[in-house]
Protein backbone atom coordinates (compact mmCIF):
# COMPACT_ATOMS: atom_id res chain seq x y z
CA UNK A 1 0.00 0.00 0.00
CA UNK A 2 1.35 3.47 -0.87
CA UNK A 3 0.38 6.89 0.50
CA UNK A 4 -2.24 7.49 -2.19
CA UNK A 5 -3.95 4.17 -1.51
CA UNK A 6 -3.79 4.70 2.22
CA UNK A 7 -5.48 8.12 2.11
CA UNK A 8 -8.22 6.66 -0.09
CA UNK A 9 -8.94 3.87 2.40
CA UNK A 10 -9.50 5.98 5.52
CA UNK A 11 -13.30 6.22 5.41
CA UNK A 12 -13.58 2.50 4.61
CA UNK A 13 -11.31 1.82 7.58
CA UNK A 14 -13.55 3.87 9.89
CA UNK A 15 -16.60 2.00 8.61
CA UNK A 16 -15.00 -1.38 9.21
CA UNK A 17 -15.08 -2.19 5.51
CA UNK A 18 -11.42 -3.05 4.92
CA UNK A 19 -10.55 -6.72 4.48
CA UNK A 20 -8.06 -7.99 7.09
CA UNK A 21 -5.24 -8.07 4.52
CA UNK A 22 -5.87 -4.45 3.49
CA UNK A 23 -6.07 -3.38 7.12
CA UNK A 24 -2.74 -5.11 7.85
CA UNK A 25 -1.15 -3.42 4.81
CA UNK A 26 -2.50 -0.06 5.95
CA UNK A 27 -1.13 -0.49 9.47
CA UNK A 28 2.23 -1.63 8.11
CA UNK A 29 2.50 1.45 5.88
CA UNK A 30 1.38 3.76 8.67
CA UNK A 31 4.04 2.40 11.03
CA UNK A 32 6.75 3.40 8.54
CA UNK A 33 5.35 6.63 7.07
CA UNK A 34 5.33 9.88 9.10
CA UNK A 35 3.57 11.72 6.23
CA UNK A 36 0.63 9.34 6.40
CA UNK A 37 0.49 9.48 10.21
CA UNK A 38 0.29 13.26 9.86
CA UNK A 39 -2.42 12.99 7.19
CA UNK A 40 -4.47 10.53 9.27
CA UNK A 41 -4.30 12.92 12.24
CA UNK A 42 -5.63 15.78 10.11
CA UNK A 43 -8.33 13.60 8.53
CA UNK A 44 -9.55 12.34 11.91
CA UNK A 45 -9.45 15.80 13.49
CA UNK A 46 -11.47 17.16 10.59
CA UNK A 47 -14.24 14.66 11.32
CA UNK A 48 -14.11 15.40 15.06
CA UNK A 49 -14.16 19.16 14.45
CA UNK A 50 -17.13 18.94 12.12
CA UNK A 51 -18.92 16.66 14.61
CA UNK A 52 -18.31 19.16 17.41
CA UNK A 53 -20.38 21.85 15.75
CA UNK A 54 -23.32 19.41 15.76
CA UNK A 55 -23.45 19.91 19.53
CA UNK A 56 -24.02 23.65 19.19
CA UNK A 57 -27.51 24.40 20.52
CA UNK A 58 -29.74 25.89 17.81
CA UNK A 59 -30.79 29.51 18.13
CA UNK A 60 -34.54 30.06 18.18
CA UNK A 61 -35.93 30.46 14.68
CA UNK A 62 -36.84 34.04 13.74
CA UNK A 63 -40.39 35.01 14.78
CA UNK A 64 -41.10 36.04 11.21
CA UNK A 65 -40.47 32.48 10.02
CA UNK A 66 -42.66 30.98 12.74
CA UNK A 67 -45.46 33.43 11.91
CA UNK A 68 -45.10 32.73 8.18
CA UNK A 69 -45.42 28.97 8.76
CA UNK A 70 -48.48 29.32 11.01
CA UNK A 71 -50.14 31.88 8.70
CA UNK A 72 -49.59 29.65 5.67
CA UNK A 73 -51.22 26.78 7.52
CA UNK A 74 -54.29 28.88 8.40
CA UNK A 75 -54.57 29.92 4.77
CA UNK A 76 -54.62 26.22 3.94
CA UNK A 77 -51.05 26.16 2.55
Amino acid sequence: MNCRELTQALTDRREGRLAPAALAALDAHLALCPDCRCYVDKFERTITTVGDIANAPPEPAPDALIRAVLDARRRGG
Binding site: N2, C3, R4, E5, T7, Q8, L10, T11, D12, E15, R17, D35, C36, C38, Y39, D41, K42, F43, R45, T46, I47, T49, V50, G51, D52, I53, A54, A56, P58, E59, P60, A61, P62, L65, I66, A68, V69, L70, A72, R73, R74, G77
Partner: protein, 203 residues
Protein backbone atom coordinates in the same frame (compact mmCIF):
# COMPACT_ATOMS: atom_id res chain seq x y z
CA UNK B 1 -32.13 7.88 15.26
CA UNK B 2 -34.08 8.52 18.46
CA UNK B 3 -37.26 6.67 19.16
CA UNK B 4 -39.86 7.42 21.87
CA UNK B 5 -38.17 5.33 24.57
CA UNK B 6 -38.74 7.89 27.36
CA UNK B 7 -42.31 7.09 28.52
CA UNK B 8 -43.14 10.63 29.76
CA UNK B 9 -42.00 12.09 26.48
CA UNK B 10 -43.94 9.51 24.52
CA UNK B 11 -47.11 10.41 26.43
CA UNK B 12 -46.57 14.16 25.84
CA UNK B 13 -45.99 13.53 22.13
CA UNK B 14 -49.13 11.43 21.94
CA UNK B 15 -51.17 14.21 23.55
CA UNK B 16 -49.72 16.79 21.16
CA UNK B 17 -50.43 14.52 18.21
CA UNK B 18 -54.08 14.18 19.21
CA UNK B 19 -54.39 17.99 19.31
CA UNK B 20 -52.58 18.35 15.97
CA UNK B 21 -54.91 15.87 14.32
CA UNK B 22 -57.89 17.79 15.75
CA UNK B 23 -56.57 20.94 14.04
CA UNK B 24 -55.77 22.78 17.29
CA UNK B 25 -54.02 26.07 16.33
CA UNK B 26 -52.10 26.22 19.63
CA UNK B 27 -50.76 22.71 19.08
CA UNK B 28 -49.35 23.72 15.70
CA UNK B 29 -47.77 26.81 17.24
CA UNK B 30 -46.17 24.61 19.94
CA UNK B 31 -44.84 22.19 17.36
CA UNK B 32 -43.35 24.94 15.21
CA UNK B 33 -41.77 26.81 18.14
CA UNK B 34 -40.29 23.60 19.52
CA UNK B 35 -38.68 22.44 16.29
CA UNK B 36 -38.12 25.41 13.94
CA UNK B 37 -34.73 26.39 15.40
CA UNK B 38 -33.28 22.92 15.07
CA UNK B 39 -34.71 22.52 11.56
CA UNK B 40 -33.39 25.89 10.44
CA UNK B 41 -29.90 25.04 11.69
CA UNK B 42 -29.94 21.80 9.71
CA UNK B 43 -31.28 23.56 6.61
CA UNK B 44 -28.61 26.23 6.85
CA UNK B 45 -25.92 23.56 6.95
CA UNK B 46 -27.25 21.83 3.85
CA UNK B 47 -28.02 25.02 1.90
CA UNK B 48 -25.53 27.84 1.90
CA UNK B 49 -28.21 30.51 1.40
CA UNK B 50 -30.09 31.60 4.56
CA UNK B 51 -33.25 32.57 2.66
CA UNK B 52 -33.34 29.20 0.90
CA UNK B 53 -32.92 27.57 4.30
CA UNK B 54 -35.93 29.43 5.71
CA UNK B 55 -37.99 28.54 2.64
CA UNK B 56 -37.02 24.88 3.00
CA UNK B 57 -38.12 24.89 6.66
CA UNK B 58 -41.45 26.47 5.76
CA UNK B 59 -42.01 23.91 2.97
CA UNK B 60 -41.11 21.12 5.38
CA UNK B 61 -43.59 22.25 8.03
CA UNK B 62 -46.39 22.60 5.49
CA UNK B 63 -45.61 19.13 4.11
CA UNK B 64 -45.62 17.79 7.67
CA UNK B 65 -48.99 19.43 8.45
CA UNK B 66 -50.50 17.80 5.37
CA UNK B 67 -49.06 14.42 6.36
CA UNK B 68 -49.82 14.54 10.08
CA UNK B 69 -52.73 12.07 9.82
CA UNK B 70 -50.38 9.51 8.30
CA UNK B 71 -47.67 9.93 10.96
CA UNK B 72 -47.58 6.57 12.72
CA UNK B 73 -45.93 7.69 15.98
CA UNK B 74 -43.18 5.07 15.80
CA UNK B 75 -40.54 7.79 15.54
CA UNK B 76 -40.46 10.98 17.60
CA UNK B 77 -42.05 14.01 15.96
CA UNK B 78 -38.61 15.67 15.89
CA UNK B 79 -37.10 12.71 14.04
CA UNK B 80 -39.96 12.69 11.57
CA UNK B 81 -39.64 16.47 10.98
CA UNK B 82 -35.88 16.05 10.59
CA UNK B 83 -36.45 13.60 7.74
CA UNK B 84 -38.94 15.91 6.05
CA UNK B 85 -36.67 18.98 6.22
CA UNK B 86 -33.74 16.95 4.85
CA UNK B 87 -35.89 16.01 1.86
CA UNK B 88 -37.07 19.56 1.41
CA UNK B 89 -33.45 20.80 1.45
CA UNK B 90 -32.19 18.14 -0.93
CA UNK B 91 -34.90 19.07 -3.42
CA UNK B 92 -33.77 22.69 -3.27
CA UNK B 93 -30.13 21.69 -3.46
CA UNK B 94 -30.71 19.83 -6.70
CA UNK B 95 -32.40 22.90 -8.16
CA UNK B 96 -30.13 25.64 -6.78
CA UNK B 97 -26.73 23.95 -7.08
CA UNK B 98 -27.26 21.38 -9.82
CA UNK B 99 -23.86 20.96 -11.47
CA UNK B 100 -21.50 18.58 -9.70
CA UNK B 101 -18.68 21.08 -9.28
CA UNK B 102 -15.25 19.49 -9.31
CA UNK B 103 -13.71 18.72 -5.96
CA UNK B 104 -10.35 17.60 -7.39
CA UNK B 105 -8.49 20.77 -6.43
CA UNK B 106 -9.38 20.13 -2.77
CA UNK B 107 -8.14 16.52 -2.68
CA UNK B 108 -4.61 15.56 -1.66
CA UNK B 109 -2.00 15.29 -4.41
CA UNK B 110 0.59 12.56 -4.95
CA UNK B 111 3.76 11.94 -6.91
CA UNK B 112 3.82 9.30 -9.64
CA UNK B 113 5.13 6.75 -7.12
CA UNK B 114 2.12 7.37 -4.83
CA UNK B 115 3.88 9.45 -2.16
CA UNK B 116 2.35 12.65 -0.77
CA UNK B 117 3.16 15.74 -2.82
CA UNK B 118 3.57 18.04 -0.99
CA UNK B 119 4.19 16.30 2.33
CA UNK B 120 1.33 17.07 4.75
CA UNK B 121 2.13 19.70 7.41
CA UNK B 122 1.14 18.77 10.97
CA UNK B 123 -1.61 20.75 12.71
CA UNK B 124 -0.63 22.11 16.12
CA UNK B 125 -2.55 20.91 19.17
CA UNK B 126 -6.01 22.42 19.36
CA UNK B 127 -6.63 25.44 21.55
CA UNK B 128 -9.86 25.54 23.46
CA UNK B 129 -10.96 28.99 24.60
CA UNK B 130 -14.64 29.84 24.20
CA UNK B 131 -13.97 32.55 21.60
CA UNK B 132 -11.89 30.13 19.59
CA UNK B 133 -14.64 27.52 19.75
CA UNK B 134 -17.07 30.04 18.27
CA UNK B 135 -14.58 31.10 15.61
CA UNK B 136 -13.94 27.45 14.76
CA UNK B 137 -17.67 26.86 14.40
CA UNK B 138 -17.82 29.73 11.89
CA UNK B 139 -14.80 28.41 10.05
CA UNK B 140 -16.40 24.96 9.76
CA UNK B 141 -19.62 26.48 8.44
CA UNK B 142 -17.68 28.50 5.85
CA UNK B 143 -15.73 25.41 4.83
CA UNK B 144 -18.97 23.43 4.44
CA UNK B 145 -20.38 26.24 2.30
CA UNK B 146 -17.40 25.90 -0.03
CA UNK B 147 -17.93 22.18 -0.57
CA UNK B 148 -19.75 21.22 -3.77
CA UNK B 149 -23.35 20.37 -2.85
CA UNK B 150 -23.26 16.58 -3.22
CA UNK B 151 -20.23 16.27 -0.93
CA UNK B 152 -21.63 18.78 1.57
CA UNK B 153 -24.86 16.79 1.83
CA UNK B 154 -22.97 13.54 2.52
CA UNK B 155 -20.77 15.14 5.21
CA UNK B 156 -23.65 17.00 6.90
CA UNK B 157 -25.89 13.94 7.08
CA UNK B 158 -23.17 11.58 8.31
CA UNK B 159 -20.74 13.66 10.37
CA UNK B 160 -23.07 16.37 11.70
CA UNK B 161 -26.52 14.82 11.80
CA UNK B 162 -25.30 11.38 12.79
CA UNK B 163 -27.22 9.33 10.22
CA UNK B 164 -25.62 5.98 9.44
CA UNK B 165 -24.49 5.16 5.90
CA UNK B 166 -27.72 3.34 5.01
CA UNK B 167 -29.90 6.23 6.25
CA UNK B 168 -27.80 8.89 4.53
CA UNK B 169 -27.68 6.92 1.27
CA UNK B 170 -31.47 6.49 1.34
CA UNK B 171 -32.02 10.21 1.99
CA UNK B 172 -29.79 11.09 -0.96
CA UNK B 173 -31.25 8.41 -3.23
CA UNK B 174 -27.86 6.81 -3.89
CA UNK B 175 -26.19 3.53 -2.99
CA UNK B 176 -24.04 3.09 0.09
CA UNK B 177 -20.83 2.76 -1.93
CA UNK B 178 -21.50 6.06 -3.68
CA UNK B 179 -22.39 7.64 -0.32
CA UNK B 180 -19.09 6.48 1.20
CA UNK B 181 -17.15 7.84 -1.76
CA UNK B 182 -18.82 11.26 -1.52
CA UNK B 183 -18.35 11.28 2.24
CA UNK B 184 -14.67 10.42 1.91
CA UNK B 185 -13.95 13.08 -0.70
CA UNK B 186 -15.98 15.61 1.28
CA UNK B 187 -13.96 14.86 4.42
CA UNK B 188 -10.67 15.16 2.51
CA UNK B 189 -11.74 18.45 0.97
CA UNK B 190 -12.83 19.79 4.37
CA UNK B 191 -9.43 18.89 5.82
CA UNK B 192 -7.88 21.05 3.11
CA UNK B 193 -10.37 23.90 3.57
CA UNK B 194 -9.83 23.89 7.35
CA UNK B 195 -6.06 23.90 6.98
CA UNK B 196 -5.53 27.69 7.45
CA UNK B 197 -7.76 27.67 10.55
CA UNK B 198 -6.17 24.58 12.04
CA UNK B 199 -2.67 25.88 11.37
CA UNK B 200 -3.53 28.71 13.71
CA UNK B 201 -4.16 31.63 11.35
CA UNK B 202 -7.29 33.15 9.83
CA UNK B 203 -9.73 32.23 12.59
Amino acid sequence: MSRPSDPARAVAEQALLVRLRAGDDDAFAELVRAHAGRMLLLARRLLRDSQHAEDAVQDAFLAAFRAIDGFDGRALLGTWLHRIVVNSCLMRLRRAEPAAASIDALLPAFRADGRHDPAPAAWPDPRASHAETLALRDAVQRALDRLPAVYRAAVVLRDLEGLDSAEAAAALGIGEDALRQRLHRGRQALAKLLEPTMMGGAL
